[in-house]
Amino acid sequence: MSIDIRARHAARGLQGSVVLVTPVALPVVTRRHRISLIAGLAGALAIAFASMAVASMLPDTNPGDDTATINPSTIPDPEIPDGQLVVLPEKDGGVAAPAVYQKNDSSTAVKPYTRFIGTAAPGIVVVATSDFGVADTVVGSSGAFDLKLFFEGAPTGVAFPVTLSVGDVDHEFHFTWLWDPQNVTITAHQTYGSSGSPTPFEKFFGTAPPGTEITITSPYGSASGEAWEEGEWYLKVFFTGAPVGEAFPVNVSVGDKSFAFSFTALFDDTIEFTVRQEGTSSSSASPYTRFIGTAAPGTHILVQSAYGSDDLEVGESGEFNLKLWFGGAPTGLKFPITLSVDHEFHGTYYFTSNYVPTPSGVNLSQYNTESWDPAPWVKFHGTAPAGTQLVALSAYGSASMTVGSSGEVYFKLYFAPLPPAGQTFPVTLKVNGSVHGVYDFTSWSDGSVDVTVNQHNTTGTDYVKFYGTAPIGTLIEIVTGSYGSVSWVTESVNWLNKLWFSPKPAAGTSFSVTVKIDGETFGTYPFSTPGAVPKTAFNTYGSCSENPPFDVYYGTAPAGTAITISSAYGGATLTADGSGNWSKQVFFSGAPLNEAFTVTVDVGGQLFYLGMVVTSP
């Protein structure tokens, strides 16, 4: 088989077994989920709450009185309807087995239970309920289930009802607890059989009628007690002085029955002395090292250094773990530690503290934890003493700064190359060489960039400035008819450029500036130099109750500019005077009462739309 054939087979297998059972629709909380909730399943509660929390962020596909949209990932929604029993044929192809049956309807055990065995659609919730216990399960992919329901506090000798809910279908059963305390079977069991502890012990347990006396005897220890009301018993026996590695007999008497066991003590008190040091350097403000090893119980271990000492006596376990803290250790200096065993020198160990005190007054926070920007950055802000060195490190670049005299910090790290979308990565912030914190950051951008153009200034004498965003490599042109142009290819997603006018436009000049993106016009933007008369138009009243109705229009425009006022009910033409002003009274004959209409004013090609309404006198 070629790798291609095998790969495609594996792809079909995965799609068939996993992808196709994933619900496409956002499912709703159905009855079987509620049953699960009623059954008190903490997991189901978690499903419901977590799902609804997520669902609140997703579109609601089926809002209804009795349903709630939930996370489709949390609960599978098999295509088989809830509660529909699936009867699986027997393996030999014979008569179909019953869908549900009760394995036992009575019990003489101390802890009684009943079992329900059956088949149902995968994913169906099966719940057994009674006054004395509840149990549940979810039918697996095989379609079979086996549910055990334990009862607590049930009456003896009385049949009581048990309901088994398989999906939406309820089945009624009964159960009777036939426990007779005086007929409890006498049993005895041993837990370990041996022990490596310095003080070895064994646990024995079993069943017996309540009050039955239990006695445990051995050459090295004994114990006694009696069976509890529930018909169970438990005793712990310590063995002292038992020979190492030699099994010895232990006799357990439960009422008139005896049980023979054996036990072996494995503890050897000839423990070899071993020691190892864990941690030979630390950047912590509270540095320490550990000495871990084994020694005979009672052994005295002493560690001493110029910056801290400690000791201990080895306990019964024969193991020790001594933590030695250092105070005032010099940064970067390797200093010795001597270890003594029972007041005799054993060896010399070393430790180095790399702690660099953080300047007091450092208070830094992460400003943003994620970004959709195609040029993503993380910012830290806060305060720190002047002169503090800050360094931000990541897999996608680093940055550093020295805090200025203001003590304020606005520290940005731009990531390059672009981090993979959706992948959270750490950013380490160091203060004066010591790690101040590690912060997570996630970039969601896939690198695509929208083209945006913004005009910085609409008036001036020397230049016009534009800024915006565009994919790297975009050709941007700023073009004017008579005052020059500039073009360039972007090298970052954020761009900014100025067109310096050559020649400079005369005072009072108005003209358009065109911005082209990759050769195509993106937009045309107005620009004027100081002294130019702006084109404006205003109305005086906006409404009129005179007969005939009229309004007075006025404004400014360069001298000689043609102005046209027009509407459905009247208009006028005029030119701006030498001072740049214009004004005109316009009558509107035949205009309807109380119906607003538009008056258009064309000032040298620039249109203004003004409202007008005629009212009753």
């Binding site: 088989m1 070629s2 790798i3 291609d4 095998r6 790969a7 594996a10 792809a11 297998g13 995965l14 077994s17 996993v18 992808v19 196709l20 994933t22 496409v24 629709a25 699960s36 399943l41 997991g43 189901a44 978690a46 499903i47 997520v54 962020m57 997703l58 579109p59 996370n71 990932s73 949390t74 609960i75 995968p122 994913g123 919730v125 549940d136 399960t137 979810v138 039918v139 697996g140 992919s141 959709w372 993979p420 979308a421 959706g422 969601w444 896939d446 690198g447 083209v451 153009v453 993106i517 016009t521 937009g523 045309t524 107005p526 906006g542 620039q606 203004f608 739309y609 003004l610 409202g611």
Partner: protein, 179 residues
Amino acid sequence: MIERTTEEEPSHLRSIRAVPDFESFYRSEYRAVVGLAYALSGSRLAAEDIAQDAFLAAHRQWERVAYYEQPESWVRRVVSNLAVSAFRTKVREAGALARLKPRDEFLPSLAAEDADFWKAVRALPKRQSQVIALHYLEDRSISEISRILGCSTNTVKVHLHKGRQRLAHRLDERWEVQQ
């Protein structure tokens, strides 16, 4: 007073297309995205968590993602990145297990030889496993994979070639060049 100008509209406004509906997008892509996450993470539970995270991220910024030429490629890129970290997969799986305990018996299982194949895919270097999964599971072309993963078509070809070579070696299969 109402004032309007005759300034020309920017060309990008003229090219705006209708915003796709998130719900339709979700319904059409969810299964396939879970499948991709499952192939790359090896955990059904973690796969659903990963897919959910990717779709939630898309939903939060839907007005932006919807304008991408291929929003489905973006979701697959995010899922590919989220799914390849073994540690994060384990964390997600643990979280999902805690929430989904009542249904752990319902987990579907793959046939042994298919499970072996995807296990071998996950053992490949990150980029190779992503390319192999997109190529075989989603039947994506070289150019589509390059768009999804944000790399050149030549890079995809190299990863596909090396990935198939390694898979054939690990799975002891005959390797035939069928690019």
